[in-house]
Symmetry: none
Subunit: 185 residues, 4 copies
Amino acid sequence: MSDRPKRADARRNQENLLDAAAAVFVTSGVEAPIRDIAAKAGVGTATIYRHFPTRADLIVAVYRHQVEALAEAGPALLESSETPYAALAKWLDLLVDFVVTKRGLAAVLQSDDPCYDPLHSYFLDRLEPVCSRLLDAAVESGEIRAGQDPYELMRAVGGLSAGGDKPRYNVRRLVGLLVAGLRAG
Amino acid sequence: MSDRPKRADARRNQENLLDAAAAVFVTSGVEAPIRDIAAKAGVGTATIYRHFPTRADLIVAVYRHQVEALAEAGPALLESSETPYAALAKWLDLLVDFVVTKRGLAAVLQSDDPCYDPLHSYFLDRLEPVCSRLLDAAVESGEIRAGQDPYELMRAVGGLSAGGDKPRYNVRRLVGLLVAGLRAG
Amino acid sequence: MSDRPKRADARRNQENLLDAAAAVFVTSGVEAPIRDIAAKAGVGTATIYRHFPTRADLIVAVYRHQVEALAEAGPALLESSETPYAALAKWLDLLVDFVVTKRGLAAVLQSDDPCYDPLHSYFLDRLEPVCSRLLDAAVESGEIRAGQDPYELMRAVGGLSAGGDKPRYNVRRLVGLLVAGLRAG
Amino acid sequence: MSDRPKRADARRNQENLLDAAAAVFVTSGVEAPIRDIAAKAGVGTATIYRHFPTRADLIVAVYRHQVEALAEAGPALLESSETPYAALAKWLDLLVDFVVTKRGLAAVLQSDDPCYDPLHSYFLDRLEPVCSRLLDAAVESGEIRAGQDPYELMRAVGGLSAGGDKPRYNVRRLVGLLVAGLRAG
DNA sequence: GATGAATGAGCATTCATTCAT
DNA sequence: GATGAATGAATGCTCATTCAT
């Protein structure tokens, strides 16, 4: 009668799946063939479809923890930083660190393919308010000009991150320039 | 048997091909199936392979005129603009206008796939010196800080352009922020 | 520990299952995925397999009542109708009404797939004698010619019903033509 | 320059394809996996898609000759038969002979799947007028009642044929009953 | 008895590239 | 030089059935 054992098993399996997906995403990007992920996890492809009906679901699940951490980091930085602008800059660094290390993530975040709509929604629902609040605070403190759409800023970070960090392409630095461009005066 | 007619024929054929490719690129992006391009041009696929062994060759050929125009625009702007910074900004706008209107171009410019290396090479060989000179001039005029790698700046423009212009995502504006971030002082 | 309650439970469960199957058959046909039926019933798929090892078993169970009713209708019509021919025609109308409204049923009744053999057997065991008696009576009354195999007639009804009733395809009418063709003289 | 050799080759290949498809249709039905047909023909699957973009196209091509023959047989029978009714009966026999020997064909002709619409269209466009004329002639000769929709009659033949000829299921006989049911008086 | 998670085979379809004519 | 037919690998997705809990 008890469904505990089942759930425990299933949960472990799910975590196994997410680990495998994360690993494959690192080497082959978030658009890696489902088969590869299933192979890595040692399960059948249908098992993945059972847990994550769409690829967007899988990607969201894989990165949920980190997205949540990003969401929580916003207010925390606002409190711990010397100025709101500093908080904004640090938070964008975190965002860059996150996106830049997820192969192919930036690309699907820019994709128009409707199959990724749920992915966009999740990221924006969760992070746009955070970014918005950081921007607002920096405006209020007089450090940056008003009027920057947080959505636009986040997509810009995504775009800049899509190239990945390379010897002659420093994403953090570029995002730094971008926000520097927002400075007031 | 003079070979003039043949050459004329071949050139016409090649231009026909480029027109077709350009048209298909507009509607389906630069990664459109070779078949579609061949169909549009009314030739066999092998004909495309003969003229342009790799897709990179084809893309380069399609956009060569515009890239050359961009290359030439740099010095011209430098002369005609009030300040080097203004010239830089205008040139980057031109670059944005170019990339943003070429469906999928920004994506392949960011791609790591070695098959696009010749494409990267061409763009950089041709445009990096131009960008470099604009940056140098703006540094010399004291308008921006020194040290900005032109390669990095151009890739940044590519990354920001990859999203395409949308109601809430204004690429020109973002690139404007970026260079604003370079300002001295 | 009396097993009455268990039996009651089991019976209720089974009926729930049949209701769910019937509902899904209406919308998706008798070849609907087992999963859909299980989901509709709110049970696991294995539960369905336990109660009905094969799909044929499930289909039989779902339609048993109606098949029994058809079986009983034969003699009744024979008594209540003006002539045996009229009884035959009315019974075939009932048969058509039954089959035509069961999405996909006619198709599986025609299928050669041995997995449906039990289904065929049940239908024939139960209905062929009824049809046979109706035919015999009509022969005896001199209304139709002798020699019509009831099995063949029933399969014909199945085949004609497989198309489903549509604006320009009236199954009842066609079956009517068929039996009219049997008329003597 | 001449494309003769190509065409000859391609045509031979196409015929090879049709032969293979016909053979596989006999053993596995018209819904046989494309792979099987390709294997039988000794070609890649894409070759089939090139020649016949949809399965409907392939089926039509495979049976075109026979359908054309059926279409031509109508008027011929009308001339050569003793009465229009005889012509109609013979033509329906031919239709039965055709459909009954094509595994799965009757099923797809009854299918609602829009992917088979072109197939339905072809069959009806080609054969319905023929059937219609035969019916009209038999009406005019006073042998059958007016009002039988040729579309309905043809679908009925399809439905009756779907079962395939079997020891206790004689399709010709049943279709004979059907038209007998149309007799006047 | 019941559950529902896992399985993995099976199929349609696309596309870059090659090669005989 | 040009053609376009053929290739066949690659991938997403579904579903009947089994089995450990």
